[in-house]
Point group: C2
Chain length 128, copies 2
């Protein structure tokens, strides 16, 4: 039986309050700073659950950290991520979907998954 705890809700809320991807550690730090007494392990567990329920996205940053984000539109989609401020835009990757399938099939690969993310500097951060 799944139980509702204030900890899980706190994680969900905090994640929703953030526009963009955050690391588990960063999320934990924010909550602690805001006065929460939640533990780091619980943040990890909550995030893992959220991803499992498809209520959050996760991706692996180039530094090897797991980043999480509240998942607005559900289903399969990709991201455009600002390297500087972390802001994200969900992008229509339809062309890439079919391309990935084709390319995999052409080489005899099955069960193709793909990692497609575009990192850059958003309009605001580009002004610097």
């Amino acid at each position: 039986m799944k139980r509702n705890t204030w900890q899980r809700e706190a994680v969900t809320t905090e994640l929703n309050a953030i526009n963009g991807f955050v690391s588990a550690q960063a999320l934990f730090a924010r909550m602690r700073d805001a006065g929460s007494t939640i533990s780091l392990a619980t943040v990890y567990r909550a995030l893992t659950d959220l991803v499992g329920e498809k209520a959050a996205d996760s991706l692996l940053s180039p530094e090897g950290e797991n980043l999480y984000r509240a998942c607005a539109s559900d289903g399969h989609h990709h991201h455009l991520i600002c390297r500087s401020c972390g802001a994200t835009a969900e992008i229509n990757a339809e062309p890439v979907e079919s391309w990935a399938q084709q390319v995999a099939a052409a080489h005899g690969f099955t069960q193709a998954q793909h990692v497609v993310d575009v990192f850059g500097l958003c309009a605001d951060c580009s002004l610097t």
Copy 2:
């Protein structure tokens, strides 16, 4: 001044002998099994150097491990990687290149980079 040691050569050789991406740990294990007395740290250092000299590719697997591969064709390219045996094929991602640029530009992003890799099961491994 850069010096040539048998350790570096051994790493280069071993990497060239492998068709596909390997983790530093796996490479180290293979060398040890083959009788080498090289140390793990040295393998890491050698691999890092190789990547720096663009003599090897590296990418981050979904599990958060760094994978390395001798770099045949130089320049920008992407990979189709077998989740089971690690075999790879370099793929022509031309359509994706331009798509990434467009999508970034459309959102006002500059200095766009992209992470595009397709993981799947190769023909052989699909037979299981």
